[in-house]
């Protein structure tokens, strides 16, 4: 059960996407999110889907992996789509049950939004599939650096993120151990009502908290012993460097953005 958590979900590879500068990948991901929300009609949305398909192809990731990232949010997609079906009026009425109407416009909107959310999730999971967590935090640190004028310490934020990511597998393992130990004493986590189940978590969460604090103290101590000082004057083992391919990728994305806007203008909106 606990093995299914895909957080540090980096999938090793050496594709074009893997080699892109993480800063550019982060930028492109944000750009892609904008791209997905721009289309107002199906032709324009197709443009976004094609861009996603090309990016996926370039990443050389198994399709199964992407499916896995969409699977957990299928419920949300379905829920949103159903809401759209019932709330949007307009177009021809297909079915009517009392006050509830299902219209062509409703179905149209539902399908449109489902595709949009699916694209969104797949596009952003590409980032975490092709970028190691450390590269990602480096990129975030770099991109937050301008906030120094607002007295935001980008290095510390990045360090906290790195540490948090580093300890996820450790905590998952620890949770497993504590669960086994409490089950061995007869803890029952599989039956009972909601309140009983929440109560059954106490014997797991408290030891987990205690050990997290212990680890945090130990780590802080170890960092201080090695004279850790923070961002000022630290050098890196792996330097980020951008190559022409990064700028070409950005150009392609911007071009697609322009095309999608043009398609919006040309074909109008199908959404209500």
């Amino acid at each position: 059960m606990l093995n299914d958590i895909t957080l540090g979900q980096y999938f090793p590879g050496n594709s074009l996407l893997h080699r892109l500068d993480p800063r550019m990948k982060l930028t492109l991901t944000m750009l892609f999110i904008v791209l997905v929300f721009i289309p107002r009609n199906w032709i324009s949305l197709c443009g976004a889907v094609v861009l996603l398909a090309v990016t996926v192809a370039l990443s050389r990731l198994p399709i199964k992996l992407l499916w896995r990232s969409v699977k957990p949010i299928l419920l949300i997609v379905a829920f949103t789509a159903v809401l759209q079906i019932f709330y949007v009026t307009g177009g021809t009425v297909l079915v009517q049950l009392g006050p509830v109407k299902i219209t062509t416009q409703g179905l149209n909107n539902a399908a449109f939004i489902a595709v949009r959310i699916a694209c969104l999730v797949m596009g952003s999971s590409l980032l975490t599939y092709t970028t190691t967590p450390t590269a990602l935090t480096d990129a975030i640190e770099y991109m937050l650096a301008p906030l120094k004028v607002l007295r935001v310490n980008a290095h510390e934020i990045a360090m906290m993120m790195t540490i948090a990511l580093r300890f996820i597998p450790t905590l998952v393992e620890e949770t497993g151990k504590i669960m086994s130990a409490q089950k061995a004493r007869g803890a029952d986590m599989e039956s009972g009502g909601l309140i009983q189940r929440v109560k059954a978590l106490v014997p797991i969460i408290i030891p987990l908290f205690v050990s997290s604090f212990r680890r945090a103290y130990d780590l802080a101590m170890a960092m201080e012993c090695r004279c850790y000082q923070g961002g000022e004057g630290r050098t890196r083992m792996k330097k980020l460097c951008s190559a022409p391919r990064d700028w070409i990728a950005l150009a392609v994305y911007l071009l697609v953005l322009a095309v999608l806007i043009a398609l919006n203008v040309r074909f109008g909106s199908v959404l209500n």
């Binding site: 504590i178 086994s180 061995a184 004493r185 007869g186 803890a187 106490v202 797991i204 030891p207 205690v210």
Partner: protein, 287 residues
């Protein structure tokens, strides 16, 4: 006393995927009522996987585990009942303490068994006495105790269920010599008093040599040896090839024999070594 009969169990992690891995393969073992069975093996030899099968925390991919002749997985819903009969103390058990007082924490197991308050009280006090915890400590928070006391409190939490079979996974790991000594003698005394069957997983050959009746040696998920302590340690060279260290005294005698001293090497405690070595030096001399 209950008898565990393990019949050809195999456990495969991630079966059917490319990461498939046999953690243990075709392991059979039958406990003898009241014995102390030592389990040794290198890291990753499958010791922990094996013992987690014995109280139903893991379900074998193949094979059966019988408790008093009854398959423990016959009714999966009743697996908790098995866990009360086969008590399991994990490595670093003090990390499982969670209640605000030691008393409540020791009572967690008995309470899960659905016992009444009077019985719970009796068991908590008895278990605390078994591990040598002072009554005054019972009302303290687990986090006010020393490392050794916490460990003993956690062990008491399992003893309070009064299991018929007790499994301990590295109960002395990370303790100083004095704490180790305390834990080992409490295991020995407890066994002498209750006659409980005990399975002790340990890295330390010395501990196993001192306490165990039989030894199970695991290697790469399979049973490499299962025999009395004397016979297992007599195969010292094989053990060393497996990366297991024989007790230091046995090693000394082995080295002596290599140097041409005529001495039997089926020795694994200091006392036995003295018996063997004294005659060589001309017997005990009065001084």
């Amino acid at each position: 006393m209950a008898v565990l009969d393990i019949q050809n169990i195999t456990h495969t992690y991630a079966a059917g995927s490319p990461f498939e891995q046999h953690a243990i393969r075709d392991v059979s073992l039958k406990t003898v009522s009241g014995e102390l069975l030592g389990i040794i093996g290198h890291t990753g030899s499958g010791k922990s996987t094996l013992i987690q099968h014995l109280n139903g925390l893991l379900r074998p991919t193949e094979g059966k585990i019988l408790l008093d002749g009854q398959d423990i997985w016959e009714k999966p819903k009743n697996i908790r009942a098995v866990r009360f009969r086969v008590g399991m103390v994990f490595q670093y058990p003090e990390y499982q303490l969670f209640e605000d007082t030691i008393y409540k924490d020791i009572a967690f197991g008995p309470r899960n068994m659905g016992l009444d308050d009077a019985e719970i009280d009796r068991r908590v006090r008895r278990a605390a006495a078994d591990v040598g915890l002072d009554e005054a400590l019972l009302e303290k928070s687990p986090f006010d105790l020393s490392g050794g006391e916490k460990r003993r409190a956690a062990i008491a939490g399992v003893l309070a269920m009064e299991p018929e079979i007790l499994i301990l996974d590295e109960p002395t790991a990370g303790l100083d010599p004095r704490g180790r000594e305390q834990i080992l003698s409490l295991i020995r005394d407890y066994r002498a008093r209750r006659g409980t069957t005990v399975l002790l997983v340990s890295h330390s050959m010395e501990d196993i040599a001192r306490l165990a009746d039989r030894v199970l040696v695991m290697r790469e998920g399979e049973v490499a040896m299962l025999d009395t302590v004397e016979r297992v340690f007599a195969r010292a060279e094989e053990l060393e090839q497996m990366g297991l260290t024989v007790p230091a005294v046995t090693k000394i005698l082995l080295l002596l024999r290599q140097q041409g001293v005529d001495i039997a090497t089926d020795v694994y405690t200091v006392e036995q070594a003295i018996e063997r070595l004294l005659p060589l030096l001309g017997g005990e001399r009065a001084c």
